[in-house]
Structures are given as C-alpha cells and as structure tokens.
C-alpha cells in the first residue's frame, strides 16, 4: 500500500521544500540588510516579466533539461552520474568541430550533425567510467567526477593550443559561420505574430530538449531496454536472475546518459555563444543532479524542475546586476533550493507520510 497519494508525492513535497528554501533565503537576505520582498519582485520581473527574461529563463532551462535527463537515466539504473559537466564540455567540443570544419549549407542539417557529434562525444566521455564501473568495479561517482577535471583540462589544451584562431588572445574558437546559426525563439515565433525579444538566447534546441524528454519517457517506460534498466536499478540480483547482464545495462545506461549531457552543447555552444569558450557549461552538469532529484527522475518532472532552475538562474543574474546582493549570496540561495529539494527530501517526506497515514486511519 502506498503511504500517501501520488499527488502529494509529486506536488506537495517539492512545493513545501521550495517554500522552506524560500523562507531561509529570505532570512539570509534580511541578514545582509536587503529587502526579501524586493528581491523576489526583482527575480520574478527579471526572469518572467518580459520576453527577454523568458528567453533567458528558457535558455537556462534547456541546458538543465538535457543534464537533468542525463542524470535521471543513470538514476534509473541506480547510478549516480556526476560527470554531466565534463560530458557536456566534450559535447561542446564535438559541436565546435562539426560547425567549424564542415561547410554546412543550412542550419537544419548542421543541427542534426551537431546533435550526432555532441551525443557521440558526450557518450564517449561517459564510456570510460562506465567500462571501469562495469568491468573493474571502480565507483562511478568517483570516476565521473574526476573525468570532469580531465575534460576541463583537455578543453583548456584544445582551446589554447589547437582551436584558438591565430592572433586572438582569448582562449576560444572562432565564430561559427553564418550558415549554422540556429533560429532563436524570436525568429521562430515571428511568423505566428508573437514578438519575442531579439536579444534573448533561447533557440530551437528548446524543442530538441522537449523532444528528448519525450524520447526518454518512451525509452524508460515503453521499451524492453527501459524495463531492463529499471529492473537493474531496483534489484541487481533480481535482474541477473532474470537474465539481464549488469555489464551491458551499466554501459548502455551510461552511454545514453552521456549522450544526453553532451546534447546540451547544441544549446549553449551552437545556439547561444556560437563559438566554444572556456567554462561554457557554467555548472549546468551539476544543476542537472538537482533537477533530476526534484523531478523524481521522470522526464515531465525534469521538464518542470528545469524551468524552475532556469528561473532561479536568470533571477539570480538579475539580482547580481541590479542590487548590491553579492553574487556569492545568490549561489547560497540556489544551493538552499538544491539542499531542500534534493538532499533534505526525507525531512519533509516523513512528517507528511505520518500525516497522511493518520488521516487515512481517521477515515477508516
């Protein structure tokens, strides 16, 4: 018997966690002498009050959808992929190579190729930790997190020594050619009469992300492979007894996870920056963990949580621009949300379960 109704699990717990995080954040803002009401106002108008704000919120949300899905898929096989950051970086390298070294006639073909390249590079980066986990038993948490550092150092080398245009001082690649520029929401929505902000970076890869959400849902709940992944995640011994190979599932789940993280590069590298810079991922790989936790590893939950974190990111950037609240404190607010929705889940869940059990007894 379920301890509490499904709607309480999916809606009530994240909502209460969010309220707690907001309350604590308000106290922090009060403590440095700023007004929490004004801060919230600024965050909401800055992130949702204009098409410009929405454009940035959706741009960040697109990043988090990809990395959130990546973590979610690995979660289903009971693996903790902390390497989303490095896999997304490598995905960026793949996108940059495809966009820079191949003369594409049209962005649509380039986008398909960039998707393939970013998935390939991201998956390749996840393949090594996956192999080490499956065959050698090296813990995936340790190896993936270490691979983030290797990815950063490798990208650093590539940008400084190989891909930096001659005479440029900035460690970044050249701009991608005009032909591979992805249409932004401004261009996509103009034909149907919506005047979306031209300056905002949200672009067609948002649709790719939504499509990816759907594909992951179908994969996990509607295919044999998805069933095997879930079975393995619930009980390894049970899965082995049913003839499911742990090595195969570990490697396949990690490859899918890495490919999804790599796909993020179509948004931040190809859609926004239109060149590869250092730190292009901006921590999205780690935010993906919180997004997957909050979304209960369900693609629809990931979709909603990604938009929430997109709002927090864009709202935070607005706070940094227009108030004297230091950037570090904005990180604290974001961290509080992650802490409450991810790590302190049981703090809200257990009293709620008791409450619902009590209610049920009362009814009976």
């Amino acid at each position: 018997m379920e301890k509490m109704p499904k709607w309480a699990d999916v809606v009530l717990i994240p909502l209460i966690s969010l309220l707690l995080a907001a309350l604590l954040s308000a106290l922090v803002i009060l403590a440095i002498g700023e007004s929490p009401v004004e801060a919230v106002n600024l965050m909401i108008t800055g992130a949702l009050g204009s098409t410009y704000g929405w454009g940035y919120t959706l741009y960040y949300a697109t990043n988090f959808m990809f990395t959130g899905l990546a973590v979610a898929v690995a979660f289903h096989a009971r693996m903790f992929n902390i390497g989303g950051e490095g896999q997304a970086m490598l995905g960026g390298l793949g996108v940059a190579m495809v966009c820079l070294y191949v003369p594409w006639p049209h962005w649509s073909i380039a986008l398909l190729a960039a998707c393939a390249a970013s998935m390939l590079f991201g998956a390749a980066w996840a393949a090594i930790p996956a192999y080490l986990q499956a065959k050698r038993g090296s813990h995936i948490v340790i190896t993936t997190i270490m691979f983030n550092f290797i990815a950063a150092a490798f990208l650093n080398y590539m940008l400084v020594n190989v891909m930096r245009p001659k005479g440029s001082m900035d460690p970044a690649t050249a701009r991608f050619p005009e032909a591979v520029h992805l249409p932004t929401l401004h261009e996509l929505l103009a034909p149907i009469g919506i005047n979306f902000s031209k300056a905002a970076p949200a672009n067609i890869s948002l649709l790719v992300a939504i499509f990816a959400c759907f594909v992951v849902w179908a994969l996990i709940w509607r295919t044999r492979l998805g069933y095997e992944i879930r079975a393995y995640g619930h009980s390894e011994t049970g899965a082995v007894y049913a003839g499911i190979s742990p090595v195969r599932i570990t490697i396949v789940a990690m490859l899918i996870s890495g490919a999804l993280a790599g796909l993020m590069a179509t948004n931040n590298v190809m859609g926004e920056a239109e060149r590869l810079v250092l730190n292009s991922t901006e921590g999205a790989g780690f935010i993906g963990i919180a997004v997957a936790l909050m979304g209960r590893s369900h693609p629809f939950g990931v979709f909603l949580a990604a938009i929430l974190f997109g709002f927090l990111y864009q709202g935070g950037a607005e706070l940094a621009l227009w108030t004297s609240i230091p950037r570090e404190l904005i990180v604290v607010i974001q961290a509080l949300v992650i802490l409450f929705t991810g790590a302190l889940d049981n703090m809200v869940r257990m009293p709620l379960e008791k409450l619902f059990l009590g209610l049920r007894k009362g009814v009976e």
Binding site: M169, D170, P171, R175, R275, E282
Partner: protein, 332 residues
C-alpha cells in the same frame, strides 16, 4: 494644430529627458575581480572618482565566468545604460556582436583596438613604453645582473609588457639576464597569487633580485614574496608602491582609471574610435612617491626622465611585440 504640435513637442521633450535620466554609465569588470589591486581596481578607482566628484551613480558587475560576458552586455544595454564600459580583451568578441544590435548605446572597451563598430570607443595603451622605463630602473637597481618578469595569462598583450621591459633592461646593461615566466594559459592566471609566489621563489633561485609582475591579481603574491625574501619588485597597472613600502621599486602605471574616468565624464557623448595612450598622453608611466623615494637614486630618475623624453621625441623606438609577434630582446 498648433496645440497638437506643442503637445507633441512637450511629450517628445519629456521622453528625451526621461531617456537622459536613465542613461547612467555601467562598468563590467573582467574575471580578475574588482579588487585585484591592479587592472580592474584601476577601473574601479576611476569610476569611484567620477562618482565622488559628480555625486552620480553607475552600475557595475563582476563577471564570474566567460559565458556571462554577452548577457551582462545585453542586459545593461537593454536597461538603457550608456556608456557601457568593459574591461579586457575577452570582451572583444562579445562586443563585436552586441554593439551593432544597440546602435544608440556607446560602448567603451579597454585593451582592445582592433574592432570595427561606429558606437565603440576602443582604448589601448602603449604598455611597452612604460615597461621599457621600469626595465631600465630594474637593471640599474639589480646587483646580481639578473632581473625577472612574471606575466599573468600567456597572451600577446603580456608578452608585449615583457618585451618592453627586457628592451629597457638591456638598454642599461646589454649583458643583463632577463628571466621570464607566465602564470598560466587561461584567465584563471589573472588571479592566482599562490602560483605568483612560487614563480617568484623560482626566479630568486635563478639569481633574480628585481621582479616585475604584469599579472593582475597574481601580482599580489609576487610582490608579497619579493618583500618577504628581501628582493625588489615592480608593480603594474595601479600604483602598487604602497603595498610594501620601501620594497617595491616602482609601478608601471597604466592609467586605466583615467580612461574610465574620461569615458564616464563624457557620458553618452563619449567620442568613439580607437585611442592609444602612450607616454606622450601620460597613459603609461612610472610611479614615484614617498613609498619608493629611498629606492630611486638620482641617477635612475634622471635616466628615466631622459628616456621618457627620447621615446616621446622618437629618438628611442621601443619595438612592440605586436609588430611581428616576436621580441628582439627576450625569448618567451
């Protein structure tokens, strides 16, 4: 009709003044951070001087990562800030796409001179000329015959500093040994005082007894270690003589503060184009004050004064690293 006209005129006037009231300047600090005691802090000092004198306010943001550059630019431009002052060569590429989107906004960029946009004021400095002068002083102060150079990020700009420095040192003593090291190859090298300190120790072990730090916030570690180990150091960008009085030989001033102050003072009327500030425009120079008065001999100051005049008059030509991406006096 006339009533209509005057009403429209009044409305237009109100709209114009409203626009003018919003147009406060904005300043975007580069990755070294606002209080790097060097490049960015010089900009902050210039902005602060303007704010104190006029009683007006300005917007500012410290960048946390490379990817934020374009968003910060666009956000300030969308909000109507004018002019928008940006620091460092990392802004060159974001500006090249953002500036054309906001033709009514003036952008100012320090350390970039190669872009092409009508609403952009680009300010470069002749760092090699100032570095030449401190190189002369280093060679005259050195007893060991070895002087050091510690750069931040290994980019042509910093080689440009080192190249002027080596030429100045060799002008005084042709046999002098110049040791040069770079902190790193990424922007993190601008803010790594620990590595700066290690490099200083390494250069001391090679015999250097004067080190010149052209490394932003990393230089704080260089100056500290030099003072601890009892050798002389040379600061950069801001006047850093006061950090360790009596132990910093001089500082190569790069008047970023003047460039920022001038831009803010001119407001949205700021003149656009490419401007180079050298010795003649007092854009670069050497810092002389009470803190280093004991270290600078009569001979040094007269030699530096003479060389300054000679460079301005064209009697001495300091070779720029940019000319053919190499330095006649120093191998990197």
């Amino acid at each position: 009709m006339t009533l209509m006209k005057s009403l429209m005129g009044a409305a237009a006037a109100v709209a114009l003044t409203a626009g003018a009231a919003l147009a406060e300047p904005a300043l975007i600090f580069d990755l070294g951070g606002k209080f790097d005691k060097s490049f960015n802090e010089a900009a902050f000092n210039g902005a602060k001087r303007w704010a104190d004198q006029t009683g007006k306010s300005y917007r500012e943001i410290e960048l946390q990562s490379e990817a934020q550059r374009e968003q910060a630019l666009r956000r300030f431009a969308e909000a109507g800030a004018n002019p928008i002052i940006t620091m460092g060569f990392g802004m060159a590429d974001p500006l090249s796409t953002v500036a054309p989107d906001y033709p009514d906004t003036k952008f100012v960029v320090i350390d970039v001179t190669w872009l092409d946009a009508p609403n952009l004021r680009q300010v470069g400095f002749a760092e090699h000329e100032g570095s030449y002068l401190v190189g002369m002083m280093a060679a005259m102060a050195s007893k060991s015959g070895t002087v050091g150079f510690i750069g931040g990020m290994d980019v042509p700009l910093i080689r440009h500093f080192g190249c002027g420095y080596a030429q100045g040192a060799k002008a005084v003593n042709p046999d002098i040994n110049v040791v040069a090291n770079m902190t790193g190859t990424t922007p993190a090298a601008w803010n790594d005082p620990v590595k700066g300190s290690e490099l200083t120790k390494a250069q001391i072990s090679q015999g250097a007894d004067v080190v010149y730090a052209a490394a932003g916030g990393t230089g704080v570690g260089v100056l500290q270690t030099a003072a601890d180990e009892g050798i002389l150091s040379i600061g950069v960008d801001s006047n850093q003589n006061h950090l360790h009085p009596g132990k910093v030989l001089t500082s190569m001033l790069k008047r970023v503060d003047v460039a920022v102050y001038d831009a803010m003072k001119a407001g949205d009327e700021v003149e656009t184009g490419v401007f180079t500030m050298g010795l003649a425009q007092e854009g670069v120079g050497v810092a002389m004050d009470d803190n280093n008065a004991e270290l600078v001999t009569e001979e040094m100051s007269s030699a530096v004064d003479k060389a300054r005049q000679d460079i301005i008059d064209g009697n001495i030509s300091v070779v720029s690293y940019y000319e053919n991406d190499s330095c006649p006096a120093l191998q990197f």
